[in-house]
């Protein structure tokens, strides 16, 4: 099994962090993994994206033109990636910022109002964990506990209150999918 996922949004939304946490979680679960960030003459507020490949076998190409899954955080990213996702693929949309519907009818869509949920939680910085929670819950490609372990490993030494907030974000994101909210 090899699954390629694109995470895309604008700088400051925690897009690269989201992919990084997922990649570390998958590695600790014994998977092969590649994390390829976009880089360049980029600025805060500009576009940010990364591709994470998770597999049971050696990963050949870290580059893909047809991801299985996409986590889309803003409208420009939807325009860029909608055409690339594999037929039957899953797309997790940040519906707080993306009000339009998909053009394609052959994708499974999960809409998560991540910015609104984050506001209620009291921290904008949890939007990436909310999206990641929804992603994991929908695709079953990892578990919330694995993601939490990945996050803990990466941000070693963060305050417990911050970690609790992130966990809450993950759970709410996951809950959104379980409830079948659209």
């Amino acid at each position: 099994m090899t699954k390629k996922t694109v995470f895309a949004g604008f700088g400051g939304q925690g897009v690269l962090m989201m992919g990084y946490v997922y990649a570390v979680a998958a590695m600790r679960d014994g998977k092969e993994v590649t994390f390829l960030p976009s880089y360049g003459a980029e600025v805060r507020g500009g576009t940010a994206n990364c591709t994470v490949v998770v597999s049971d076998e050696e990963i050949f190409s870290p580059v893909t033109s047809s991801p299985d899954y996409a986590i889309i955080m803003n409208k420009p990213s939807l325009a860029r990636y909608e055409g690339m996702i594999k037929k039957g693929g899953i797309i997790i949309l940040n519906s707080s910022l993306i009000k339009t519907d998909l053009i394609r009818k052959d994708l499974e869509v999960v809409k998560v109002p991540a910015n609104d949920i984050a506001k209620e939680l009291g921290s904008d910085r949890t939007i990436n964990m909310i999206m990641l929670g929804a992603f994991v819950s929908k695709t079953k490609i990892s578990t919330l506990d694995s993601i939490m372990n990945g996050l803990t490993e990466i941000v070693k030494g963060k305050k417990e209150s911050v970690m609790k907030l992130n966990r809450k974000g993950l759970d709410i994101g996951a809950g959104y999918v379980i409830k079948g909210a659209k």
Partner: protein
């Protein structure tokens, strides 16, 4: 061996260099390899006897490496394409002085200032010496995070063993990508062979010097032949390539570094369609693994060279095969990263044109 870590390519090079006894780093910032310079600042600071210098220029940095190596340190510098051009005079001197040093080139689009995207346009410069004079540098081409660690360690060892500058030739993607890596054990500097040639003060021994000026032409000729014998030994000893799915192949792709990763993805796709295609991935670019190519040419005719340039390694393939086989080329220069889909289309079209689907 330690536990697996998910590490950025640049950081793998930096950490492995420190674990491999690198005690001197000088560099000047340039994208897409600033993460390495930044990492070395921390890595050298953590050591009791490490030195990090952000030099005033690339030229200063390579000359500092010459000095550190002369004094006996395992020394390294890094840059990206335009900065590597600036270092070439110093690399020529390192070769003439027969000093070990490790140079990292994280290639980007060129010529000129180019751009900051991954490219492979510096192949000629790297494998032909790069600077003036009759010399070569060992050139290693990693294609994964784990190999970055292995080849960084090897670069320091080869540099010492042969007293030669060694270049690790990666690109922006190799530098930025994160993969799980097991780092090598730290090297005990006391286990390294002595460096009787180093200049560390003449107390208790006759004075000695290291130079590259030989006005007597016969002395310079002898020096050139001495370097040449060393190059021959290196060619005999360390040429290396990875062979992938070549056993039943009717056609092989030849690609290195990032291009090889993309080619492997394409091969996986076309194999699922029933095409018998393999890969030869040179790990040493100089010396070029010619023997491996000749071996494969005994049972197939068609070679497709894929590079992120307009075609440079393809010339070494022609030199290696000397007319054995049909050599085809596909390239994307300027910082374009092909996808496996794109390369699989090229493979399928070529497979048809060469009538490989028959028998």
């Amino acid at each position: 061996m330690t536990e697996k870590l998910l590490m950025r390519g640049s950081h793998v090079i930096g950490e492995t260099a420190a674990l491999s006894g690198c005690r001197f780093y000088a560099g000047y910032p340039i994208t897409p390899q600033n993460e390495l310079t930044e990492y070395m600042a921390g890595a050298m600071d953590k050591l009791d006897n490490g030195t990090f210098i952000q030099a005033e220029s690339e030229i200063a940095a390579i000359n500092m490496v010459i000095g550190a190596s002369m004094a006996g340190a395992r020394a390294m510098t890094s840059s990206s394409s335009p900065g590597i051009s600036l270092k070439q005079e110093g690399i020529s001197y390192l070769a003439a002085f027969e000093l070990p040093a490790v140079i990292i080139n994280t290639m980007r689009g060129g010529p000129g200032l180019g751009n900051i995207a991954p490219a492979q346009g510096d192949y000629f410069q790297a494998t032909r010496g790069g600077g003036h004079g009759d010399y070569r540098t060992i050139v290693l081409a990693p294609a994964s995070g784990q190999e970055l660690a292995g080849l960084t360690r090897a670069a320091f060892d080869y540099a010492d063993k042969y007293r030669i500058p060694v270049m690790l030739l990666g690109d922006g993607m190799m530098g930025q990508m994160m993969e799980p890596v097991e780092l090598p054990d730290p090297l005990d500097l006391d286990t390294l062979p002595p460096r009787p040639w180093k200049l560390d003060g003449a107390k208790g021994r006759p004075s000695q010097f290291i130079r590259s000026l030989f006005l007597d032409t016969t002395v310079e000729e002898d020096h050139n032949w001495k370097l040449n014998r060393k190059h021959q030994n290196i060619t005999r000893d360390i040429s290396k390539a990875e062979l992938f799915e070549t056993k039943d192949a009717k056609m092989v792709i030849i690609a290195y570094g990032t291009a090889a990763r993309i080619a492997k993805g394409a091969i996986k796709k076309v194999r699922e369609m029933g095409l018998k295609v393999g890969l030869i991935r040179p790990i040493t670019l100089w010396p070029f693994p010619s023997q491996e190519l000749i071996e494969i040419s005994r049972h197939l005719r068609d070679f497709l060279v894929f590079e992120m340039s307009t075609g440079q390694m393809v010339e070494d393939v022609r030199l290696a095969l000397e007319g054995r086989g049909n050599i085809h080329f596909y390239g994307r220069p300027g910082g374009i990263i092909s996808t496996p889909d794109e390369i699989s289309k090229v493979i399928i079209s070529l497979y048809h044109r060469q009538h490989l689907e028959e028998d």
